[in-house]
């Protein structure tokens, strides 16, 4: 593609920015959602309010959170944290329920066996419950990662540099005659990134759950 050839360094830079802005919130979100999800599972009465709050947060459009972040955090308008913070909030909102449901999917007999084998509460959680919950959690993680890639592009409208920049560049260059190259390039790179992140999570899930492959005929 001609546009990519002429602007290789610039596009790769935007791509790197985009990767960073999409991946960091997923990782942070997972780290934050794990204890909260555990809490919602452990103490049943916390589940409805936690899930309701998560749903409420998910209702707020991303552009609104991007704009309000500097006011809430006291950051500068162009600070990338204004993008990382809302996306982390969304990821947590999505994953709290997923983590709680994932932990709930562990069969009671398995829990009883683990306890009978002498696992303490923490050891049982880390070595038995979490591994079994991995497939459910990874489903949520895939949704979060793929939707983050798209949401990051919205941050262009408030001036943060990433692949979405290619869309606004394309719009400006089209004022006299339609010029699709940067727009199509941006969309393709976004799709590619979403596909790669999704594939990585699927591959990670396979590595973490060897028992799911063991029973299958080769």
């Amino acid at each position: 593609m001609g546009y990519f050839g002429d602007h290789t360094a610039e596009v790769l830079d935007l791509f790197a920015q985009h990767v960073w802005l999409s991946v960091v919130p997923v990782v942070l979100g997972l780290i934050i959602a794990l204890p909260i999800g555990y809490l919602a599972r452990r103490y049943a009465w916390t589940y409805p309010p936690l899930v309701s709050i998560a749903g409420l947060l998910y209702t707020i459009p991303s552009i609104a959170l991007f704009v309000l972040a500097p006011g809430i955090l006291g950051t500068r308008i162009l600070d990338p944290v204004n993008v990382l913070f809302p996306l982390t909030v969304y990821t947590v909102a999505l994953l709290v329920r997923v983590v709680a449901d994932g932990l709930a999917s562990v069969p009671t007999e398995v829990l009883q066996s683990a306890t009978a084998m002498g696992y303490g509460r923490l050891a049982r959680l880390i070595r038995v419950e979490l591994p079994i919950a991995v497939p459910v959690i990874s489903t949520g993680l895939r949704v979060a990662a793929v939707s983050n890639v798209g949401l990051v592009t919205v941050a262009t409208t408030i001036g943060t540099a990433q692949l979405g920049q290619l869309f606004s560049t394309g719009l400006q260059m089209s004022s006299f005659r339609s010029y699709y190259a940067p727009i199509v390039l941006g969309i393709v790179l976004c799709l590619l990134l979403a596909l790669v992140l999704d594939g990585l999570i699927v591959a990670g899930t396979r590595v973490l759950t060897p028992w799911r492959r063991a029973g299958r005929p080769a």
Binding site: P61, T157, V184, I187, C190
Partner: protein
């Protein structure tokens, strides 16, 4: 910052005229409603047909996932650049048409996907019982499967509405009206209070619309399906696409 936002929201001059808050909310709802209605007209019959016959279910999930991973902002710009040269004359249609195309495209997957899932998830025993009672295929669809699918269908409409309201905000970036105007005018004039006020209004609008649709859900879903008449609530069908709202279903 909060003082500036409150000041903007309470200034009387911001509540009247074609650039006032009520007019902007009206525009925002107008753009959103058109898209939701068109998406419903397309996705609902299609979803009922696919869910009922079971043909094309795999294709639906493929299309739904593909559209989901498209960046909506990029799609918006693409259609503006594609369609605006085709429209002659200086009027709002130049921006409205591409925007509506994108909004409909974004609303379709949730409604279609959830309608198909809802129909397919209808209790097989209830379906068999209806057939056993002598119902025709279309009676089974409209009197058994559809009422059972309603909670999921409305969940799909709610997700679609949120997506559309959010993206309609970005449509102001390509010179359209609506609440996004405050965000982008504020950005251009370096007036953070105006930007933040716009963002607050969008967030409140999204929450209110979602609440209203939740109310609609409560009114039209049969208590026999929602489980509200039972003392013990059983978990409803889980779908990743559905935004969890009702603790009763969760």
């Amino acid at each position: 910052m909060i003082g500036g936002v409150l000041d903007f929201l309470t200034r009387a001059s911001n509540w009247s005229g074609p650039q006032g808050i009520p007019a902007r909310i009206g525009e925002h709802l107008y753009y959103s409603a058109i898209a939701i209605v068109i998406a419903l007209v397309i996705a609902l019959p299609l979803g009922l047909l696919i869910g009922h016959t079971g043909r094309g279910v795999a294709a639906v999930s493929l299309v739904v996932n593909a559209v989901r991973s498209l960046p909506s902002f990029g799609l918006l710009i693409f259609f503006v650049v594609l369609l605006s040269p085709l429209i002659t004359g200086r009027n709002n249609l130049v921006y409205l048409l591409p925007t509506e195309v994108v909004l409909v495209l974004l609303a379709l997957p949730s409604i279609l996907g959830n309608t198909v899932a809802g129909i397919q998830n209808a209790d097989a025993a209830a379906r068999d019982a209806a057939r056993g009672m002598g119902m025709t295929s279309s009676q089974v669809l409209f009197r058994v499967e559809l009422p059972n699918a309603l909670p999921l269908i409305i969940s799909g409409v709610r997700s679609a509405a949120l997506q559309v309201i959010a993206t309609a905000t970005i449509a102001s970036y390509v010179s359209l009206g609506g609440l996004g105007r405050y965000v982008f005018t504020g950005l251009a004039q370096q007036d953070y209070s105006q930007m933040a006020a716009g963002a607050v209004l969008v967030a409140v609008l999204a929450l209110v619309v979602d609440l209203l649709l939740a109310l609609v859900q409560r009114l039209i879903v049969s208590p026999g399906v929602s489980g509200r008449f039972r003392s013990r609530v059983e978990p409803g069908p889980a779908t990743a696409a559905v935004v969890p709202k009702e603790p009763a279903v969760a």
